[in-house]
């Protein structure tokens, strides 16, 4: 049976797509929201470390599966290898309703003003495509506010002096510290720094019909057993469905955006839950499949006017793939500093984000999410024996003495770090898979060394008997859950993929609404920014919708 024509198709029910779908549906547009995964619940995998979002050795708790999905990774010597979703270099994002927002750590960062003006702040960086966004912080500010209030954030709006100006406080009070967080707070203060409780997309009090967080150690990487984590799946998607205008189609793999001879999008070809090929037509198409899959979908959507993929006539689709270079330091105390108050991460400083002599960008430093027992078995100072009685003694005594300070360093974008459609390898449905190639800009390492140095100084001051740095930003391709940048927004169609509203250059009714738009990725976890972009792109579509089509 032929699918009924709708006003809008949204591909991907994650942080960007779920919000766009809700915004359009509530405004009265008929929407089909495609998601390649299904609904995830806590009961599927409970607190099972080996199938979680952080340890995928036995598979991805939130998808995609290893049977049907593949990617190709190009090695530095030009050779390629096929990787499965449960392997680290796949750069996975969760494939389920809500995507990463079901299992994330839920930090709710707004980018800073300078994060939108990286090039005018720091100038040209050799070998980099560092650029300003076509919009600034104040264009996005009202949408950050919407994200904070509609999805739900706990935090103290006065606590971080480096935060960009804002109009409204957070809807919920800040979380209290655990013992490690309190120690790092006190130490940072003593050093003249500015610590604060991390704003979190997690209920500190009962909110929105869901209970307050009860501070499990197994939080990041897992679904919440009491639904206290605020994600796309338990906020905007239920509203979208309730509006009666949005149909959520799960377990559907979108293969291609159909383009007509005038260069407009007419709908998508997809495989339904029974792997049957189907067609869905629509007036507009919004792609929000996360940086790697969004780029892959655009590149796989070829037509006479776009022989190299939708919006790719200038070869910018898939370029500038970024994530975050995680870096920091680890310390061991003489006494137990772990009090089993989850999720671990609760304290941050933003002192090393911008305005540090000689450093481009920077990042926040936070105490870390609680390590799970298996991953902890790999956390050792250099040279420590990792098996035998020595291993056991370390597990037993140091788990509760470990103190950590880490953060996401803002990566300097590289034109050669990219996603392409692989010419040979196909997935289960016969769709060309994403190929990841290139490497990070070498500056990332320099910045990470600076951040790790600062982190170690704080841990020493906190009284750690032994400390060491764990420095990120090595070679290889970035991406991962913070993947961004592959459909950059910009004013010049020659050096970007979409205009400043996420509308693909030359294709008026095709939009992107996820981290792919990010020109640069900030020194913060990007979830709240992707949500804000979802509201921003959705708002523009609704404003320009004339009742039958996009103007």
């Amino acid at each position: 049976m032929k699918n009924k024509h709708v006003n809008a198709i949204v591909v991907g029910a994650g942080a960007g797509g779920g919000i766009v779908a809700k915004e359009l549906a509530v405004a009265g547009l008929s929407v089909v929201l495609f998601e390649r995964g299904g609904w995830a619940t806590y009961d599927d995998h409970d607190d099972d470390e080996l199938i979680s979002q952080r340890t995928t050795v036995l598979g991805n708790a939130f998808g995609p599966d290893d049977i049907r999905h593949r990617r190709v990774v190009a090695n530095s010597d030009g050779s390629t290898r096929i990787v499965l979703p449960s392997e680290g270099s796949y750069s996975n994002n969760a494939a389920c309703v809500g995507s990463g927002t079901v299992s994330y750590g839920a930090m709710a960062w707004r980018f800073m003003e300078k994060d939108f003006k990286m090039k005018s702040t720091y100038g040209h960086v050799e070998g980099s495509t560092l650029e300003d966004w076509p919009i600034d912080y104040f264009d996005l500010e009202p949408f950050y506010e919407k994200a904070e209030w509609e999805i739900g954030v706990s935090g103290d709006h006065n606590a971080n002096p480096f935060m960009a100006p804002r109009k409204k406080p957070y809807p919920m009070p800040a979380f209290t510290y655990n013992r490690e967080g309190q120690l790092l707070h006190d130490t940072s203060k003593k050093l003249g720094l500015h610590p604060f409780s991390i704003p979190m997309l997690r209920n500190s009090v009962r909110n929105n019909g869901r209970p307050a967080c009860y501070r499990m150690r197994s939080c990041v990487g897992f679904a919440c057993p009491v639904n206290a984590k605020c994600g796309i799946h338990n906020t905007v998607i239920p509203i979208a469905i309730k509006s009666g205008n949005c149909e959520l189609r799960t377990h559907c793999q979108v293969a291609e955006i159909m383009l007509d001879e005038k260069g407009r999008a007419t709908g998508v070809k997809y495989f339904d839950e029974n792997n049957k090929g189907q067609i869905q037509t629509a007036d507009i198409v919004v792609v929000a499949a996360a940086a790697v899959e969004t780029a892959r979908l655009l590149l796989n959507s070829k037509s006479k006017l776009f022989p190299n993929g939708a919006g790719n006539n200038n070869d910018w689709v898939g370029r500038n793939l970024q994530g975050h270079a995680y870096t920091g330091a680890v310390g061991l105390m003489d006494y137990e500093v772990y009090d089993d108050v989850g999720p671990g991460a609760c304290m941050a400083i933003s002192d090393f984000n911008h305005d540090n002599e000689g450093i481009i960008g920077g990042g926040a430093l936070c105490n870390e999410f609680t390590a799970m027992p298996y991953l902890f078995s790999k956390m050792r100072p250099l040279g420590a024996k990792n098996w035998g009685l020595e291993h056991k003694e370390y597990q037993r005594t140091m788990f509760k003495r470990m103190i950590r300070l880490h953060g996401p360093f803002q990566e300097i974008p590289s034109f050669e770090a990219r996603v392409t459609a692989d010419p040979e390898v196909k997935d289960f449905w016969g769709i060309p898979v994403a190929r990841l190639s290139g490497k990070r800009h070498p500056y990332d390492r320099t910045g990470c060394e600076f951040m790790s140095q600062k982190a170690e100084e704080i841990l020493k001051e906190a009284g750690a008997a032994k400390t060491w740095q764990s420095i990120g930003g090595g070679p290889g391709i970035s991406g991962g859950q913070h993947q961004a940048g592959t459909a950059r927004m910009g004013n010049d169609p020659k050096t970007s993929v979409t205009n400043k509203f996420g509308q693909v250059h030359e294709i008026d009714n095709l939009f992107v609404a996820d981290g792919s738009l990010n020109v640069t990725n900030g020194g913060f976890n990007p979830a709240l920014t992707i949500m804000a972009l979802g509201f921003y792109v959705g708002d523009n579509i609704v404003k320009n919708w004339n009742g039958t089509k996009f103007k």
Binding site: D48, L50, M216, R217, F376, N386, R396
Partner: protein, 203 residues
């Protein structure tokens, strides 16, 4: 594994055919899904070296072998070949250098052997088909997963590693259930496998 249970499983496998134990490799002569009895002995000894019993449980107590065996017929099917080549390489190295099966060596001698293997210093003639350091790292990693992962995958029996790390489980903060007698009968988390109490015997 006691002999009556082994006998039971053997009868069961004869009755139901080998679908009970996914691959045919282990045949009817083994209680394991993937390993032969002899291979299992090597893996058990190896894992016990990685996590030996001291005042807390070791890899054998946690049933790490059951975890590895189970995963090798599931998500770790791709590692079957490594084990099929690596275990004979351990055994031929041990029998040629030390004139004994690896699992029959004294604990301290096994340790010395494994230190060499980790560094890639066992004679290469026995390791033509698989790299000894790679195989060491693989078994080390799988042992850690079996010991520290969720018991639902066949290891970490009775949550011994969580107990060792003093991590409350079930996770109700401040309620350490391990020492409490009533927790043993808690209906929320039935004990996995045999219910034999672990004795904290010194090494």
């Amino acid at each position: 594994m006691n002999s009556s249970r082994r006998e039971f499983i053997r009868q069961l496998s004869v009755a139901c055919g080998s679908i009970m134990f996914v691959p045919a490799c282990s045949g009817y002569d083994s209680v394991w899904r993937f390993f032969s009895e002899a291979e299992a002995k090597t893996v058990i000894a190896f894992a016990e070296q990685i996590i030996p019993r001291d005042k807390d449980a070791g890899a054998s107590d946690a049933n790490v072998i059951n975890f590895i065996d189970k995963q090798l017929t599931g998500p770790y099917t791709r590692f079957q070949e490594m084990y099929k080549k690596g275990i004979p390489a351990i055994e031929s190295s041990a029998s040629n250098i030390l004139q004994k099966a690896f699992y029959e060596l004294e604990f301290g001698v096994q340790t010395e052997f494994m230190i060499k293997m980790e560094k890639g210093e066992l004679p290469e003639e026995f390791w033509k088909e698989v790299n000894q350091r790679d195989f060491f790292r693989l078994m080390l990693d799988h042992t850690m997963q079996g010991f520290y992962g969720s018991p639902r995958h066949g290891g970490n029996k009775n949550y011994v590693s969580y107990k060792m790390m003093k991590l409350d489980y079930p996770h109700v903060i401040g309620q350490n259930r391990y020492e409490s007698k009533c927790a043993q009968n808690s209906p929320s988390r039935p004990p996995q496998g045999e219910e034999k109490e672990l004795t904290n015997a010194p090494v």
